[in-house]
């Protein structure tokens, strides 16, 4: 047993049954602290009273203890008519442990993203036309969830299809100031990313007709070199 216990025991009698004065309030505060900490459930004042040495005033000790924990990482909170120690609400994020898993974006996703970036605002049908294959809902959802694309305005064409545009997060991630900074095909070719043959009918088709109000975000001029 520890030294402290020894002292308590060598005192006249075990404190809980003591006929002598109740422990000083600071000591009572320690006791409440320990009980609240170790209990599996919130503890009522009455229960505290029963567990602490005779003559203690747990309600008063609680006032001090509460005050002591004000602004700390944990707080003394009331739960019904009982008391418990809980994590401060602003630190809840520490109770989560995030494990980050790195994954390469799928080819479908990156192609879809590229088309949106170069042709925005662009409808799903247009994306499919450019890719030559249908775009799965999951791919678009994934990009939306990553917050790399978002919905743009609806097209003023029959069916009023939604359009997609890239987001600020996208620009941040790729280190671009704006979508205009995306390298044009000429740059890609210069960088050896394209065959040197000229592209037949290269200009992008989307966004040409009615998306005039978003023209500055569009890419129409991008590929005319």
């Amino acid at each position: 047993m520890s030294d402290e216990t020894m002292q308590d025991e060598t005192g006249e009698a075990p404190p809980r049954d003591s006929l002598f004065e109740a422990p000083p309030i600071a000591e009572q505060e320690r006791m409440v602290e320990a009980i609240l900490f170790a209990s599996a459930d919130p503890v009522s004042v009455r229960e505290l009273s029963e567990r602490m040495p005779h003559g203690c005033d747990p309600a008063e000790a609680l006032v001090y203890l509460r005050k002591r924990y004000e602004g700390r990482g944990v707080r003394v909170v009331r739960v019904g008519d009982a008391w418990a120690i809980r994590t401060a609400p602003d630190l809840g994020f520490l109770m989560q442990r995030e494990t980050v898993e790195q994954r390469k974006l799928s080819r479908a996703a990156i192609e879809t993203l590229a088309i949106i970036a170069y042709h925005q605002p662009v409808t799903r049908a247009e994306i499919e036309e450019i890719r030559g294959v249908s775009v799965s809902r999951g791919t678009v959802d994934q990009l939306l969830e990553m917050e790399w694309i978002r919905f743009g305005r609806r097209r003023m064409t029959p069916g009023r299809p939604v359009t997609f545009v890239v987001t600020q997060e996208f620009l941040d991630h790729f280190g671009l100031e704006s979508a205009r900074d995306l390298p044009g095909l000429a740059d890609l070719r210069a960088a050896g990313l394209l065959e040197s043959r000229p592209l037949p009918g290269g200009a992008p088709r989307a966004g040409d007709d009615d998306a005039d109000d978003e023209i500055d975000e569009g890419q129409s001029e991008l590929f005319e070199d």
Binding site: F37, M95, T99, I110, E111, I115, L199, P200
Partner: protein, 266 residues
Amino acid sequence: MADQQDWTEAETAISVADRLAAEALVVDVDGFEGPLDLLLMMARTQKVDLRKISILALAQQYLLFVEKAKALRIELAADYLVMAAWLAFLKSRLLLPPDPTEEGPSGEDLAAHLAFQLERLQAMRDAAARLMAHDRLGQDFFSRGIPEGVERVRRIQYSATLIDLMQAYARIRTRDEFRPFVLDRDSVFTMEQALERMRGLIGFAGTWTDISSYLPDGWDADPVKWRSATAATFAASLELVKEGKAELRQSELFAPIQLRRREGRP
């Protein structure tokens, strides 16, 4: 360590009290965890610091114990007998004056080691007792009663670089410039074509006919076309035979191959 004098004294002491003690121990032999445990118990009866015990007396005490056990026809585990033999050897070493010609450790060395073992065992027992009396979790001090589990959140971070993006775009934009690799089929007469042609003609082949007569028109002039058409027609003929619609024959090596409709079938 133990000279003659000590031994005599020990001898006399043993003869009375320890004979009884040995007997008591014999009855209790199952209570001991092996000979070392028993020896430690005996050593304690010497009521001296373990560092000062007389190993000779201890050996004598132990041998007495074994003797008693034999007298009482109590089966002792082999361990106890091995220890007895070793202690008898130790005893003789301790009693005889050292023989300078003799190899090996002296009786004193062996006795010192046994004393060390006993002391160490006792020390570990004391340490164990102190350890168990130490403040213990869940008994003297406590952990959090309402632990808050750490929620595991798995976040997938997708990565893509500008190069990936550009390459993807380049891939799409240049796709039109490529077409899938196909053979130039101008000079190829496929087996499917030949089969289709022959199915139409087979009804008329009542008699043996050279299969070369089934070649499509205009395919015999160009050698490349002729070769392709001949191969396809031959393969188609085999297919028809397999289907049971025709028969093939060849009179000798490299002779013309002849085909006719199989009798009894349309």
